[in-house]
């Protein structure tokens, strides 16, 4: 009897250890899954026209829901603010000009090329690729999770996406697929889960 107990003890200890590992791992997996689900919501906003039109991989911004090239031969310029004689602020003021249909916001400019969310053929990048770019501190102006959350919650040009003003024909511009409140909540859930990124290219 004693010998069988001695024989079983290592098995029991191993089983207990495995159970402990399993119980400890479960919340992480749940957390990651929830974080990835939250990222899906964040990604849906990032690739909406109000955001991605200024996150190009090319030397020009885009405009409209069909994301066509910005008219009037507008170019990116060395810092993303256009070029002398044809700056972004040649037209875009610090707020929307609804009487003329020109959108505006503080410090209107293109996102840096390191934050491109589309390829050179203007196709939106995959969820995994955008997530990698957004979380890469060498590309994202050194923002960690809390800084990303603050950026999504407070940055003027992010907020503009939910207040994009009227088109020249007087109709309202399309909004991102979820509200700003939902976007911030999704970002918070993603950040609290450790900013997980989907696998794949």
């Amino acid at each position: 009897m004693l010998s069988s107990i001695r024989l079983l003890t290592p098995v029991f200890v191993l089983a207990l250890f495995a159970m402990t590992i399993s119980l400890a791992a479960k919340p992480d997996r749940v957390n990651t899954a929830a974080g990835l689900a939250a990222w899906d919501q964040v990604y849906a906003v990032l690739v909406s026209p109000r955001c991605i039109n200024c996150h190009t991989a090319t030397n020009y911004p885009q405009q409209g829901d069909d994301r066509h090239r910005h008219f009037a031969n507008v170019v990116r310029g060395p810092e993303g603010f256009g070029v002398p004689g044809l700056n972004c602020i040649s037209c875009h003021q610090e707020s929307n000009a609804d009487s003329t249909g020109v959108p505006g916001g503080e410090n209107w400019h293109l996102a840096p090329l390191s934050m491109q969310w589309q390829d050179v053929n203007d196709r939106p990048m995959s969820s995994a690729a955008v997530c990698r770019a957004v979380t890469d501190r060498s590309k994202n102006e050194d923002m960690d999770g809390p800084a990303l959350l603050k950026h999504h919650a407070e940055a003027d040009l992010v907020l503009w996406a939910w207040n994009p003003g009227r088109r020249p024909d007087g109709t309202m511009r399309t909004l991102p697929p979820i509200s700003h409140q939902e976007f911030v909540a999704a970002t918070r859930a993603w950040v609290e889960a450790g900013t997980p990124c989907p696998k794949g290219r």
């Binding site: 507008v74 002398p84 044809l86 700056n87 707020s95 003329t100 020109v102």
Partner: protein, 157 residues
């Protein structure tokens, strides 16, 4: 209607207009500065270009309510600046103008280009002047005049 105090070509002006009125129409209709032209009304042609705090700005799409305290310079005032004068001289020297309608906007954009880039390459000129259209196609002479103005500035420095 609302009252706005504007600084235009160094002088203070007060206008009483609807806040949504584009700056272009304040300049042309209220202040009678008709050198700035209406071309397209949607910032696509550059004929209405003026400087707002030194930035080439399409006055047809900027409501007067968004100007604030920024200083406005139009084609009537740009010649008081040495660079502006150099560009106007180069325009005359190269006989750039054909019908002339777009040329005040062309000159205002060229001055802004040369302020930011005193020695522009052809690519710089293409990119900066790409939003200023000329139906007479005086583009070659515009390019020559910008190069000439650039040389004049260097010579004067």
């Amino acid at each position: 209607m609302a009252k706005y105090r504007l600084t235009v070509n160094g002088s203070e002006k007060t206008v009483d207009v609807d806040p949504s009125t584009p700056l272009l129409w304040v300049l042309r209709e209220e202040l009678k500065l008709t050198g700035t032209k209406y071309g397209c009304g949607i910032s696509a042609c550059g004929a209405c270009t003026v400087h707002v705090d030194g930035v080439a700005t399409r006055s047809c799409v900027v409501p007067v309510s968004l100007i604030g305290k920024r200083e406005i310079v139009t084609i009537e005032g740009v010649g008081s600046d040495p660079l502006g004068r150099a560009v106007q001289n180069a325009w005359v020297e190269k006989d750039v103008v054909q019908c002339g309608y777009c040329q005040s906007g062309q000159i205002m954009s060229a001055v802004a280009l040369l302020k930011g880039t005193p020695n522009p390459t052809d690519k710089d000129v293409d990119e900066s002047m790409g939003g200023n259209l000329c139906r007479c196609a005086t583009y070659v002479r515009i390019r020559e005049a910008i190069a000439s103005a650039s040389r004049q500035i260097k010579g004067a420095a």
